[in-house]
């Protein structure tokens, strides 16, 4: 039994994503796919933006930060942002900002690096929400409701949350479980990124989103994450030299997300830095 476990851990994947912002048109298809897949509530009046539940938010960013950019130099980009599946300094011993804080173990990191959240265990204290630097955790301020016939199209694989609980993107881990079970039935013990793809990635019409295993150096996502175009959201430590980085990491953990963004536009990369 113990041996089998060891074999399994040797196959461990580390799921990650790379999103090419230069290819993203901001169409919002990823958000729609995510919402439908994950039973995101749909209120009649969804205008209360700060209390809305969305796992994937498409953020609009412009270079007009200080109202200084003039036509025709104003630039805009869209950043699809979901849970960044942080790992902390050491991905082998993951320590996302949001996991150790939970008082009731409603959230954990799987051995594939995905940060889970169990709706029905959550007591709604929102401590994890305060701890998340990427605003990825959402609280059900109101009772989730589904307008009109939406109730009939709910996804049976994802539980509908109760009011007063925290929910978040789990890289559609229910798809992973479903596909893994299918493959196991066929005797295959490992699954790859083709069999398991989160809804947002399948939904993207321009191919801006790539999903895969960061542990596999040959995977596309690994390759993209290593290119010069890659950066991570507000994670400027990536640009520091090695010595400074080491020194900083000795003082504290860094989120170290597994979602990479790609862009050749310097202004967009500059936007990742607080002035």
């Amino acid at each position: 039994m113990a041996q089998e476990k060891k074999k399994e851990s040797a196959m461990k994947r580390r799921w990650g994503m790379a999103i090419d912002l230069d290819k993203c048109t901001g169409c919002g298809q990823c958000q729609v796919a995510c919402s439908q897949e994950n039973n995101i509530p749909l209120f009649e009046d969804d205008s209360e933006l700060l209390k809305r539940v969305v796992f994937l938010d498409v953020m609009k960013v412009t270079n007009d930060r200080d109202r200084a950019a003039q036509y025709p130099n104003v630039k805009t980009a869209f950043i699809p942002k979901m849970c960044q599946q942080c790992s902390g300094n050491d991905p082998k011993n993951p320590k996302p900002p949001c996991v150790s804080v939970c008082p009731v173990v409603a959230t954990d990191v799987g051995d594939d690096g995905v940060v889970s959240q169990v709706w029905s265990r959550c007591i709604g204290c929102r401590y994890c929400q305060a701890s998340c630097p990427y605003e990825a955790r959402q609280f059900n301020w109101w009772k989730p409701e589904y307008e009109g016939s939406f109730k009939e199209s709910l996804n049976p694989e994802v539980s509908v949350a109760s009011r007063g609980t925290i929910v978040k993107c789990t890289f559609c881990s229910h798809i992973w479980k479903r596909e893994r079970d299918k493959m196991l039935a066929r005797g295959v013990k490992d699954i790859n990124a083709v069999q398991y793809t989160p809804a947002c990635v399948s939904g993207c019409p321009t191919g801006a989103m790539v999903f895969g295993d960061l542990n596999d150096p040959a995977s596309e996502v690994s390759r993209l994450a290593k290119t010069d175009r890659a950066f991570r959201l507000v994670h400027t430590i990536d640009t520091w030299d090695e010595a400074k980085k080491k020194e900083a990491q000795a003082k504290k953990d860094y989120p170290n997300p597994k979602v990479y963004y790609l862009s050749s536009q310097q202004w967009l990369r500059d936007m990742m830095r607080f002035k």
Binding site: L50, K51, R52, M59, V61, T62, R65, C86, P97, C98, S100, V101, C102, P103, V104, V105, R121, C122, I123, G124, C125, R126, Y127, Q129, A130, S131, C132, P133, Y134, E135, R137, Q138, F139, N140, W141, W142, K143, S162, R163, G164, T165, I166, L233, V234, T236, I237, A248, K251, K252, D253, Y254, P255, M271, M272, R273, F274, K275
Partner: protein, 418 residues
């Protein structure tokens, strides 16, 4: 029917015996408590959508209330420790009131926590599925808070028992008298246990809980845990003086001798110096060491509604408390001493507001603005109504139970004279 009439007459007579000011105070408190009930039910049954908290601003007024109440209620452990362990008998007249305030502070902390969590019916998960982690120490600061708070609440409850037992109706019975007497004698054990527990949860709820959030530049600093303990001893003692002094003013008699107040005020003043030094180091280390780790500057993390003025005010209040409570001339004058303790309490309230309001308002992305927060009527009523309930309980104790043995002795003495 006869009893109902008697009870009604009793109430009417009681009401008539109160002065105009007390009647108005009671009406205001009653109004707040009624609001607390109505809006409390709304929040518990229809959820936190009725608050102004949101996905950007996860914590609001009730959490400030929690942090403030626990820190200020922390005066109970300091006072108990100084009285029972250091044997400073001057604090004896203050101790009953102190224990009661501590108890009420913790009680309402728990009440506010229950309102604040989205699933109050799952509150017991904190005990049944605690996040202990692999070692002896809890992994989540909030697990530590829940357990420690509960234990200390029980300790305060036990410390509270001798007060009603001292009521003359009960004290007549030799058995009850003996129980009360021996409980009082053994109270140093509770004081020691309470101090031990307090060190942990004061540190964790007041500071550690925020200090561990390594993703957030506005909160992260490893020493925050210890700063919160110093803060609670400094501000809590001021708060204990303030409450007892207010009670004396309302009851129009000397409930606690000035000497006791001054003795505790001195402790508060000295702890305020420690707090000032530690707090200055805190700001310095945030500016030079911790915030730069995030590639941000300290000053830039301040803005929006909750600017750096809050920090300046906090320092001014601390300085005010130090000057008044440490210099004997000011401390020994009743009026200035009261200003001193108010200043001390305000310094703590300011610090807690900074932690919650400023902390929650800081943007996480460079392209986002500071977030504002404007509590709704529901939040105000639950908050103020909760505090009003605590005040009413305190008033009840002060009127009907031997909360201030010194005042009782005094009053009996006067009777004898007459």
């Amino acid at each position: 029917m006869k009893y109902l009439k008697q009870a009604f007459d009793f109430c009417v007579n009681e009401w008539k015996s109160y002065s105009k000011n007390i009647q108005i105070t009671l009406l205001v408190l009653g109004f707040l408590v009624a609001g607390f009930l109505v809006f409390g039910i709304q929040i518990l049954f229809w959820g936190l959508g009725y608050t102004d908290m949101n996905n950007m601003f996860a914590f609001g007024q009730w959490i400030i209330g929690d942090l403030g109440l626990v820190a200020l209620g922390g005066g109970a452990f300091t006072t108990g420790f100084i009285l029972y362990i250091f044997r400073n008998d001057k604090l004896e007249p203050l101790i009953n009131s102190t224990v009661l305030i501590g108890f009420l502070c913790y009680l309402f902390t728990l009440v506010f926590l229950v309102f604040d969590i989205g699933q109050p019916l799952r509150a017991w998960f904190g005990y049944t599925y605690p996040n202990w982690g692999p070692g002896l120490m809890p992994q989540s600061m909030l697990t530590e808070v829940v357990w420690c708070l509960t234990f200390y609440f029980c300790v305060l409850f036990i410390e509270l028992i001798p007060i009603p037992l001292g009521h003359r109706l009960l004290d007549r019975y030799p058995v009850i008298h003996a129980i009360g007497h021996y409980m009082h004698k053994l109270m140093w054990i509770m004081a020691a246990v309470g101090t031990f527990l307090s060190f942990f949860h004061q540190g964790s709820l007041g500071g550690g809980m925020w200090g561990v959030l390594y993703g957030k530049s506005q909160w992260f600093r490893p020493h925050f845990f210890f700063l919160a303990i110093v803060m609670a001893t400094a501000g809590g003692t001021s708060f204990m003086i303030l409450c007892a002094w207010l009670a004396g003013k309302v009851m129009k008699k000397e409930v606690v001798p000035m000497e006791s107040f001054q003795s505790l005020a001195k402790v508060s003043g000295i702890m305020m110096i420690a707090y000032l030094v530690f707090n200055a180091y805190d700001v310095y280390s945030m500016a030079t060491k911790y915030v730069p780790l995030y590639d941000r500057t300290f000053v830039d993390t301040w803005g929006g509604y909750y600017g750096i003025w809050m920090l300046v005010l906090e320092f001014l209040f601390t300085l005010g408390a130090i000057v008044i409570l440490v210099v004997p001339k000011f401390r020994n004058t009743e009026k200035t001493m009261v200003y001193g303790v108010i200043s001390g309490v305000m310094a703590i309230v300011m610090n807690k507001s900074i932690t919650v309001l400023h902390g929650s308002s800081v943007p996480n992305f460079p392209w986002k603005p500071f977030v504002g927060y404007n509590p709704t009527i529901q939040e105000w009523f639950v908050f103020l109504g909760g505090l009003a309930t605590a005040v009413l309980i305190y008033m009840w104790f002060a009127k009907y139970l031997p909360l201030f043995p010194h005042a009782d002795k005094h009053a009996h003495g006067e009777e004898h004279h007459a």
